[in-house]
């Protein structure tokens, strides 16, 4: 009898404790939840709805237009051009910054005295304001007063107007993109490298893998698989969102050859205030970003099975 009473009392206080905990949980999560609703979920719903209208900022009337914005978008030269430019940019920046990041990480890892200084140097661009450095790059590559022009001229290579040449402009922007990302990728690869057990290299040594390339191919590269996947995904997302350099240096010129997705979205939405088409482009952008994120989740999930 007394035992039963005690248990009853204990579970009652346990229940009270659980209820208090739940109440505190809701209280603490409320500010976050409100912000998630107001700044994340509601805007996404609104963008989705706006993409079905012809709403223009400041206009008094608007109407539903169904999927017209999407079909217009798929036939829009500027949008398609921006998309392909963005893909070309990504296709240069991702391999460039991932391979360079990996090579630098492996070489820096082997250094002893100079390791810290190299790390500092390569990481420097990650911390700096890209807008300011874009202005500097623009000046560096200036076809009439840039030092690089003096160099190519002295070497007899002639002059390069990198940001004025339709065929070079994306390469020029990509070089800046790579310049900024190499250090970031290096740090991620360094973290992956230090996690590789030393005895794997010793074992490979015994198996006759004595060259640097052998060690890389048999141990480093396979062991870095998850790191590499992660680096590729984050770099892809970063490169896909290229905006700053375009806004400062080229503004889509020459001949629209450096129009990229976010810059075109910015122009349509925030300069021309065509909210309908801009919303449709936003949804397209979101789809791309989600596809990359899902691909990452899929690959990481698959990795856990073996």
């Amino acid at each position: 009898m007394t035992v039963a009473l005690k248990i009853g009392r204990v579970s009652a206080s346990r229940n009270a404790q659980l209820r208090a905990e739940a109440a505190a949980g809701y209280a603490f999560v409320t500010p976050a939840l409100i912000l998630i609703m107001v700044l994340l979920i509601a805007p996404i719903v609104v963008v989705l709805l706006l993409s079905l209208t012809d709403y223009q900022l400041g206009a008094l009337e608007w109407s539903w237009v169904g999927l017209a914005n999407y079909s217009d978008m798929l036939g829009d030269r500027i949008f398609l051009r921006s998309l392909s430019n963005t893909f070309i940019y990504v296709a240069i920046v991702v391999p460039g910054s991932v391979v360079l990041g990996l090579v630098v990480a492996i070489l820096v890892q082997e250094r002893t005295k100079s390791k810290a200084i190299y790390q500092t140097i390569f990481f420097l661009p990650v911390t700096t304001t890209l807008i300011a450095m874009s202005v500097v790059w623009h000046f560096l590559l200036n076809p009439s007063l840039g030092p690089i022009t003096s160099l190519t001229r002295a070497l007899g290579l002639g002059e390069f107007d990198v940001f004025g040449d339709p065929d070079l402009v994306l390469v020029g922007l990509a070089v800046i993109g790579i310049w900024q990302l190499v250090g970031f990728n290096m740090i991620l690869f360094l973290a992956g490298l230090t996690a590789i057990p030393r005895d794997l290299y010793d074992a490979a040594d015994i198996d006759g893998a004595d060259g640097a390339w052998d060690r890389f191919a048999r141990v480093t590269w396979p062991m870095l698989g998850p790191t590499t996947l992660f680096v590729v995904v984050t770099t892809t997302i970063t490169a896909f969102r290229v905006f700053d350099t375009v806004a400062v240096i080229t503004r889509g010129n020459p001949q629209g050859r450096s129009d990229v997705l976010l810059y075109t979205l910015y122009k349509v939405g925030f300069q021309d205030f065509n909210m309908g088409p801009a919303s449709a482009m936003t949804i397209a952008f979101l789809v791309f970003v989600l596809v990359i994120a899902l691909a990452q989740a899929f690959f990481i999930d698959r990795r856990t099975h073996y």
Binding site: A24, I36, F123, V126, F139, P147, D244
Partner: protein, 281 residues
């Protein structure tokens, strides 16, 4: 393989690796060096600088004072400090209790809310920009500090980070505190937050660098120099200079990039940790 050839192999390997790293370092440092050299170069030498990189006389005083007088650089930097501080404070006030609730308190809606946080991690600010802009325009709040800060009051990344950090906090300590009569709020203020100082430092670095350097959103919601953050100020400065005075322009770029570079050089470890935290899962 004989020992001697092994040693020469290693020597050659070391030389090649140094050569590559030096070349890479030169590529990385080139814009920084050129920015600094041009910022102390007299205007008359800018055109011939490609052949004589080292300035014959110093014009640092002229260039830097011109940069500061021709454009309100200090105002931009003050704006940057205010915006970054405002964003960070709200982010922490929201994310620490939120992260604690998601990590240590059980309630029915918890998995759903955590799911929303994970979803939010994949959504860039450009996706929510249009509606938030329209709302700010309708409320007549464009060109305010509030407008520049608003979308970033929510950092789902911060909530996620603190949730992961608190997850490993020993349950027994929280339990003991409850038995001692601590309320949940006291537990957050007196036990959880002090334990999270490293995570707060790393998150602060991450948040401050992102928002000090952000251009997209300030460009959209501010049209005046009064509230412009450093990147936007740099763009305004560049546009008004239109390439006439590179010395002052480079001095301006140096002034704007200096604060973060200095913090980075003095607190490298925390800095690298903060920036690459997105990679730690």
């Amino acid at each position: 393989m004989s020992r001697a050839t092994l040693r020469t192999d290693r020597l050659i390997g070391s030389a090649v690796s140094h050569a590559f790293l030096l070349l890479g370092a030169a590529f990385i440092l080139l814009p920084f060096v050129w920015m600094l050299l041009t910022s102390i170069r007299p205007a008359s030498e800018v055109f011939t600088a490609g052949f004589n990189p080292i300035p014959s006389r110093l014009a640092a005083g002229i260039n830097y004072s011109e940069a500061l007088s021709k454009s309100p650089l200090l105002q931009y930097m003050l704006n940057g400090v205010l915006v970054c501080a405002g964003i960070l404070i709200i982010q922490l006030l929201v994310a620490i209790p939120g992260g604690y609730a998601l990590a240590k308190l059980s309630f029915r809606a918890q998995p759903v809310i955590f799911g929303l946080v994970l979803f939010g991690l994949t959504v860039p600010v450009q996706v929510t920009a249009l509606p938030i802009y329209i709302a700010l325009a309708k409320l007549n709040l464009l060109n305010t500090y509030f407008a520049i800060m608003l979308p970033f009051f929510l950092s789902v990344f911060g909530i996620f980070l603190f949730r992961q950090f608190f997850k490993s906090f020993p349950q027994e300590i929280i339990h003991a505190a409850r038995l001692d009569g601590f309320t949940e709020l006291e537990i957050i203020i007196r036990i959880i937050t002090p334990s999270a100082v490293p995570a707060i430092a790393a998150f602060a670095v991450f948040s401050i660098t992102s928002h000090w350097n952000d251009l997209y959103w300030p460009l959209i919601v501010t049209t005046s120099a009064d509230h412009a953050t450093p990147p936007l100020g740099m763009m305004i400065f560049r546009d008004q200079e239109t390439g006439s005075n590179y010395g002052a322009l480079m001095a301006g770029a140096a002034i704007i990039t200096a604060p973060l570079i200095l913090v980075f050089l003095f607190a490298q470890r925390q800095f690298v940790r903060g920036i690459t935290m997105t990679g730690v899962k």
